[in-house]
């Protein structure tokens, strides 16, 4: 019978996003490998962000440094090669050799393969090793078959890449040898469409069957029977960093006032068209260490005014802007345009903070990374970041909030946080790690070091005849064997 073809439009699949191809060993291209069903990792996340088996059946933490992983039987690569322990070993070894970030995360000392089991030894205790292996770079590929010039790899997923032009398109066909069920769609084209409006038109015209990454303002076009939405909260958070070296934001009252002066609810419901979640902490409620466990300020302009008043910030010259010691309460708000939510956040924060007497001056530039290294140039830095790419709370803090963090450009320091960080470093028990994660979030919230505004609601829109395309909280899994067109 007729071939089933499927076209997927994506605004983010491009070299700029470090997804020039589908080779998991090339920076972030693993995201494309796993999203488009070419590669699979040893374990995956469930909808509750719990570890689940995938290529691997189970793991055993033999000791602090040794992990034994047992693979499922009958897993084969799309080229027919059996994916056994040896193949996994080859894949991981080549990963560690080629991918610096992976090498740093995994700290692998040695790998041994024996039939369907793989034993990994790490150089230091790595409580989150299995989580790291779920990162898209962990896609198991046939290292023997190698990588083509344009970055195509052989994986175990339901689809096989046949053609790839960076920033333009990726062609996939059904993996006839798929080990884990029946694949419904015969051919898939993933089109990179960098302009959200073009994508919206293409979806309207029926040129793409499903789309990811449109402007929120286009969503109402599809809120009808012809289209279906699939949405889920993710750990991508939009949040503001405070600069502790700035004379203004080093004042705790100012930070508290900012936290109270941002209207997260309205931001999400109006500006994001409801496609987002107001954030409490760094992680969404789907995580066991999510925001439901935290206490933080809600939108309270009157309260914010009072806090400022008490700290001596008063508007004495009647221009609507408060001042203290002759200095105006000016907030230099640094952000960047490549995430459409950030300018929206900046503009709305600007208005709500104005009401409590702050003059927010927005600098929205793609050059933000250079600027934020110089703490004299900004007061608040609003950015978007995947806070728990591995489903674990530690990553966020080690990368941003500690003395040793590379990105701690606001020079935030908390003795308490340092102590908790030291604990989580050594903690292997998942529940205890969660607990520590909650304490750490509460610590930074109490210091008002960050204001977490919202979490991304990852949404895909499809023609109503598409089934099996479901948004996943970790953002990794998009095109699966379940995908079908009726």
């Amino acid at each position: 019978d007729e071939k089933k073809t499927f076209v997927f439009g994506d605004t983010t699949f491009n070299a700029e996003n470090e997804e020039a191809d589908v080779n998991p060993q090339n920076t972030y291209a693993g995201w494309a490998c796993i999203r488009y069903g070419i590669g699979e990792t040893l374990f995956k996340y469930s909808d509750d962000m719990e570890i689940e088996p995938w290529i691997a059946k189970e793991f055993e933490n033999v000791d602090e440094l040794t992990w034994k992983i047992t693979l499922n039987d009958g897993v084969v690569f799309s080229n027919g090669r059996v994916c056994d322990g040896e193949a996994v070993k080859e894949s991981l070894e080549s990963l560690v050799a080629n991918h610096e970030r992976a090498a740093g995360d995994l700290c692998i000392d040695s790998i041994e393969a024996d039939g369907n089991t793989v034993t990994i030894k790490t150089t230091e205790p790595k409580p989150a090793l299995i989580n790291y292996l779920c990162d898209p770079y962990g896609c198991i590929i046939d290292a023997e078959a190698g990588i083509t010039d344009n970055g195509i790899v052989i994986g175990t997923g339901p689809y096989v890449a046949t053609d790839l032009v960076a920033d333009d398109h990726l062609d996939l066909v059904k993996n006839e040898n798929y080990w884990n069920g029946n694949v419904n769609i015969d051919e898939i084209t993933v089109r990179t469409i960098s302009d959200g409006d073009t994508l919206a038109f293409a979806l309207q015209a029926g040129e793409v069957n499903a789309a990811y990454g449109m402007a929120y303002a286009s969503y109402p076009l599809f809120e009808n029977d012809d289209f279906t939405f699939t949405s889920t909260p993710t750990s991508r958070a939009f949040y503001a960093w405070m600069n502790f070296e700035s004379p203004v934001t080093s004042d705790p009252a100012v930070r508290e006032a900012i936290a109270m002066g941002i209207d997260k609810e309205s931001f999400v419901s109006v500006l994001l068209n409801g496609y987002g979640y107001p954030a409490e902490g760094a992680f969404p409620d789907t995580f066991s260490f999510g925001g439901q466990n935290l206490t933080t300020e809600s939108y309270n302009p009157e309260g914010a005014k009072q806090v400022l008043e008490e700290a001596g910030w008063v508007d004495s010259d009647g221009d609507g802007i408060r001042e203290k010691d002759g200095q105006d309460l000016v907030i230099r708000w640094l952000t960047y345009p490549s995430r459409q939510e950030l300018p929206l956040l900046a503009e709305s924060a600007q208005a709500t903070l104005k009401e409590i007497g702050m003059d927010v001056q927005v600098n929205c530039t793609s050059d933000n990374n250079t600027i934020r290294k110089d703490p004299t140039l900004w007061d608040v830095y609003a950015s978007a970041m995947v806070t728990a790419p591995t489903g674990d709370p530690q990553y966020f803090f080690t990368s941003c909030a500690l003395d040793s963090s590379v990105s701690n450009n606001g020079h935030y320091h908390s003795d308490k946080l340092e102590e908790l960080a030291a604990q989580i470093e050594k903690e292997f028990d998942t529940e205890k790690r969660s607990e520590l994660g909650i304490q750490m979030q509460q610590t930074v919230l109490d210091d008002h070091a960050y204001v977490f505004c919202s979490h991304l609601k990852m949404s895909m829109i499809m023609q109503s005849n598409v089934t099996g395309l479901v948004a996943h909280p970790c953002d990794y899994y998009e095109l699966t064997a379940d995908l079908d067109i009726n």
Binding site: G196, D197, A200, M214, A215, Y216, A217, S218, P220, L221, D263, S266, F267, V270, L271, P337, P343, L344, A346, E347, S348, Q350, A351, T352, K354, V362, N363, C364, T365, S366, D367
Partner: protein
Amino acid sequence: MENEKNKVTVRVQKIKKNYIKQKLIFFLILAAALIFAAVFSDKLCPYDPYAQDLSSAMQAPSVLHPCGTDTYGRDMLSRVISGARASIFSTFILVAVISVFGTAVGVFCGYYGGILDSLMMRVSDICLAFPGLVFAMAIAAVLGGGIQNAVIALAAISWPKYSRIARGQTLALKNAPYIHAAILAGDTSGQIIWRHVLPNMLGPVLVTAMLDIGTMMMELAGLSFLGLGAQIPMAEWGSMMSTGRSMLQTYPWVVLSPGIAIFISVVIFNLLGDTVRDYLDPKNNRSARR
């Protein structure tokens, strides 16, 4: 024959009156009105163009909000009026700077010639051959985004047009008998340029400048699209259109209001330019003034 002479045929000539002066005044008034609106935009706005009210976001045009409201619940009419300042002023300043600078360079090169002339013409070649977009983006990257920097970027690549016009005109005027007469009257070169060359080439430059106002508005809008235009939350027509473009189908007034504003001002300045050209055209003048 004799009889026929008595019956003289009389034909009535339909006189097409040349309303150039009236037209010129009319468009000058319209342009003045636009500039007035730009200068006094604060006073003319029915609402604060920056006051957000998320609860009344995306309202369709109504009596309260004749142009509707935007995503932030800001009154579009007020934003369009207040956008006149940024849009019209920035294009005005831009066009003024490039036309004055470009003309100065062109006159200088054309009048004195020599090495300096060849050198400046090479420089303008380079500016013309340099992809404008790269230039604009590089400037934006060096100086940061924002309307001023977009204006700087556009200025840097647009001046050669004027210097070419001015140079050509100067070369043509340089040998006019009245320039020779001025030399005999003992004018210095500076006096000749100031008294005779500049006034006589003003026409083409002025007309190009008028037409450029529309072009530059478009260019600024294009830069806004690339994220190099006005900064948040400044109301500027180009960036309003660019940020509102996703709402074309859902909330069309958000993108159409600034669009219409651009259209109206482009039309006014274009027509003004055309009329100025007609007015300066000696063919029209002779009959009009005699």
